[in-house]
Amino acid sequence: MASFQPNSNGEPVAAEPWLPTIFSRDHKSVGLLYLWLALISVVLGMALSLVMRVQLGHQGASVAGSTGSSERYAAITLLHGSLMVFFVLTAAPQCGFGYFFVPLQIGAREMAFPRLSALSFWMTAASLVGITASVLVFAGSGPTVWLGSAMCFCAAMLAASLNLCVTVIDSRARGMTLPRLPITVWAWFVTAILSLLIFSILLAAGVLLFSDRMFNTHFFATAALAQASIASVWQRWFWFFAQAQVYVAMLPCFGVVTHLLSTYSRKPVWSERMAVLALCAVGLFGFCIWGEHMFASGLNPFLPLVFSMLASSLGAPALLLIACWFGTLLGAKARLTTAMLFALGFVSLFLSGGLSGIFLARREFAGGSTGDAFVTGHFHLVMGVAATFAILAGLFFWFPKMFGRRLNEALGKIHFWITFCGVYVLFMTMHWLGLLERTIAAPDAAQFRGLRMVIAAATVATVSAQILFFVNFFWSLLRGDRAGAKNPWRATTLEWSVASPPPKENFRGGVPVVFRGAYELGVPVAGEDFVPQHLAPELLAKLR
C-alpha cells in the first residue's frame, strides 16, 4: 500500500510513487498498475521471442518444446503475440499513459468513473493470468481458457475506452476547449472511440467461438462450411478487429511522438489542426480497411480493388502526420534527449515500415504473402518496434512526473543506439528473407540458414540491450536524480504545473483554469521560451 506525505507545498503526494496502491481507484495508481503489467508482459514476451528465434535458427533443436512439437511452437507464438499486442502495445500507451495523464492534461481531478478504472485494470490483470496460464499450465483446455481470457480483455478495454471518452468529453477544465487539447489527449480520445467499436466485434466473435467450444454449436465448424464461408465469417470479424487494432496501438504513439517533437524542438506543432484531423482520419480509415488481409481468402473480385484503394489512401493522413513532424523539426534547435531520440527513432521506423506497407496494400503482391517473413518484418517494424519506441519515448519524458526522479540520460542513449541498430538489422534482414522466399520457386530451408542466423543473433543482441533499460529503470526509481524543478523539460501542458509526482486529486482539490493552447513554445517570457497553458493573460503581460 502506498502511503502519502506532504510535499514542499503541503500537498499530499505518494511517499513511494513507484508503488501504486493495489486496490486504488485513483487514476494515477491505475495508470501505474497498467504500466507495471505491461513491463511484466514485455519481459515474458521478449523471452518467448528469444526462444522462437533460437528455435528457427537451429531447426534441428527442440528449444520451443518437446521434440517435434509444432503445436507447442504455435502455442508459444500465440502467447508471444497475445502478450505483446494486448498487454504491451494496447494497454501501455492507451491505458497506462492514458489513465495517468488524461485527467492531468485536461485539468480534471479524477477519471469520470474511478470505479470503472479499477475494474478495467483488474479485468486486464485477470486476462493476463488466464492467457499465460492457457499456454503454460492448461494442456487440453488451453484454447478455451485463452478465448475466455481474450474476451475478458475485450470487456476491460470497452470499460477503459468508455471511461476515457467520457472523461475527455465531460471533465475538461474551464477553458480547455477542443482546440486547446494537447495532441496526446486527442490521440487517446480517437483511440478510445475506435476501441469501443472494434472490441465489441471481437467480443461477439469470441462469444460464438466460445459457444462452439463449450456447447457444441457449429458457427465455425469446418465440416459444415465451405472454405469460403469460414473466410467470410471468422476472417472478416477477426480482421475487422485486428486491422483497426493496429491503429489502437499506433494512434496514442502518434500523439506522444508529435507532442515530444514539439516540446523538444521548442516549436509549436506544425499545422496542429491538420495533425488532429490526420489522427481522426487514421482512426476512420483504420476502421475501413480490414479486407486488405483477405486478398488470399476468396473475396468478391471487385472488393480487393476497393480495399486496396482504401488501404493505400491511409497513406494520405500518414503523410500529413509525417509532414507535421518534419515541419515541426524544420529549422528547430532540437534538444536531443533520450526521449527525443526515441521519438525520432519512431519516425524513422514508421517511415521504413510504412514503405513496405505500400507493397502489401497491392493485391497482386499480397496475394501469396500471408504469414511470410516479409509480412512478419513489416508488422514488427511498424507496429511492434515503432510503437515500443514511442512508449519508451513517453516513459523517458514522463518518468520525472510519475516518479519524481529522472532516468539516466547517458545509459538511456546507449540503450537507444544499440536497440535502434539492432532492430534495423533484425527486421531489414527479415524483409530480405521474405523477398528471397518469394522469388525462389522451391525454397529450401538450408538456403536461408545464414539469414536466419543473422536474425537470431540480432534478436539476442537487441533483447540483451534491454537489460540496460531495466538497470536504468530500477536504478533511477530508487537512486535517480531528483527531478528538482517540477517541469524539467520546460513543457506547457497542465501536468507540469503540479508537483512531481502529482499530489492527490491533482490540482489541490479543484480544477485549474486554462487560458491558451498546448503548444505556445518558442515565445520569450521571463527568460524562458514557452507559455504554460495555465498562465493568465494579465500575468503574462506583467512578465513580458
Partner: protein
C-alpha cells in the same frame, strides 16, 4: 535546463467546478478558443454535470452494444445462406407474449417518468416497480422458452439457426439484466447525498431500457424473418 524559474512558481487559478467552458470574457490572452466546442457551461451545477456524464456514458455504451449485436446479426445473415447445418427454426409462441411484456414495461416506464415530472412520488414508485417487475417477468419468460425448447430436444448443436436463437436471447438477457439492476438502483436509492438527481438517473435508465426494448424487437424480427 531543469532550473527553477518564475514560470515554475506561478500559482494555478483554481476553480471548484470543472467543465471545459470558455475562460471569463476579456481574460483570454491566448488563442481565442472560440470554437463552439467547449465542454460545457462554466456556471453549471454539479448535478447537471454528473447527469451529462452518465448520459454520455450510456450513449457510448449503447453504441458498443449495438456493434456487438450487429456483428452477431451479420453472422446470422451470412451463415443463413452458407452454413450446411442451417435448419429452419420456428420461434416459440411464448416469445410473442414476452415481447408484449417488454413493450408494456417501456410504456409503464414512460408513465413513471410522467408521474415524476408532476412530483407524484407515490405514483412514480408504483409505475417504476411495475416496470421492474415486467422486466423480471420478461427474463423469466425467456428462461421458460429455453426450458421448453430443451425439453423438446432442440439444442444449439442441432442447427445453427437454433444456436443463434440461444446466443441472441442469452446475450440480450445479460444486457437486460444490467437494465434491471439500474431500475432497482434508481427505485431504491434515496438520492439525497448523491451527485446525480433522481430525475437525471431516471432519464439515463430510461434511455437504456428503451434501447434494450428496441433491440429485442429487432432480434425477434431477425429470428422470425430469417428462419
Amino acid at each position: 535546463m531543469a532550473g527553477t524559474s518564475v514560470l515554475d512558481d506561478i500559482e494555478l487559478v483554481i476553480e471548484d467546478i470543472g467543465g471545459g467552458g470558455k475562460p471569463p470574457a476579456g481574460r483570454d490572452g491566448g488563442d481565442s478558443g472560440d470554437d463552439g466546442a467547449s465542454g460545457g457551461d462554466s456556471g453549471r451545477a454539479r448535478g447537471s454535470s454528473s447527469a451529462r456524464k452518465y448520459a454520455i456514458a450510456i450513449a457510448l455504451g449503447m453504441v458498443a452494444i449495438l456493434m456487438f449485436f450487429m456483428a452477431l446479426a451479420a453472422a446470422f445473415l451470412v451463415l443463413r445462406t452458407t452454413s450446411g447445418r442451417w435448419l429452419a427454426f420456428h420461434v416459440p409462441a411464448l416469445l410473442w407474449l414476452n415481447t408484449a411484456v417488454l413493450l408494456a414495461s417501456s410504456a409503464t416506464l414512460e408513465l413513471a417518468r410522467k408521474r415524476l415530472a408532476i412530483a407524484d412520488d407515490e405514483g412514480f414508485r408504483k409505475m417504476w416497480a411495475t416496470t421492474t417487475a415486467l422486466g423480471v417477468a420478461f427474463v423469466l419468460g425467456q428462461v421458460i422458452a429455453w426450458r421448453e425448447l430443451v425439453a423438446a430436444g432442440v439444442y444449439g448443436a442441432s442447427s445453427v439457426a437454433v444456436a443463434f436463437f440461444y446466443v441472441f436471447t442469452a446475450s440480450h438477457a445479460v444486457h437486460l439484466f444490467g437494465g434491471i439492476c439500474a431500475l432497482l438502483y434508481v427505485g431504491y436509492r434515496k438520492f439525497k447525498k448523491a451527485q446525480l438527481t433522481r430525475v437525471a438517473a431516471v432519464e439515463v435508465a430510461s434511455y437504456y431500457w428503451h434501447f434494450m426494448d428496441a433491440l429485442w424487437v429487432f432480434l425477434l424480427a431477425l429470428l422470425y424473418l430469417g428462419k
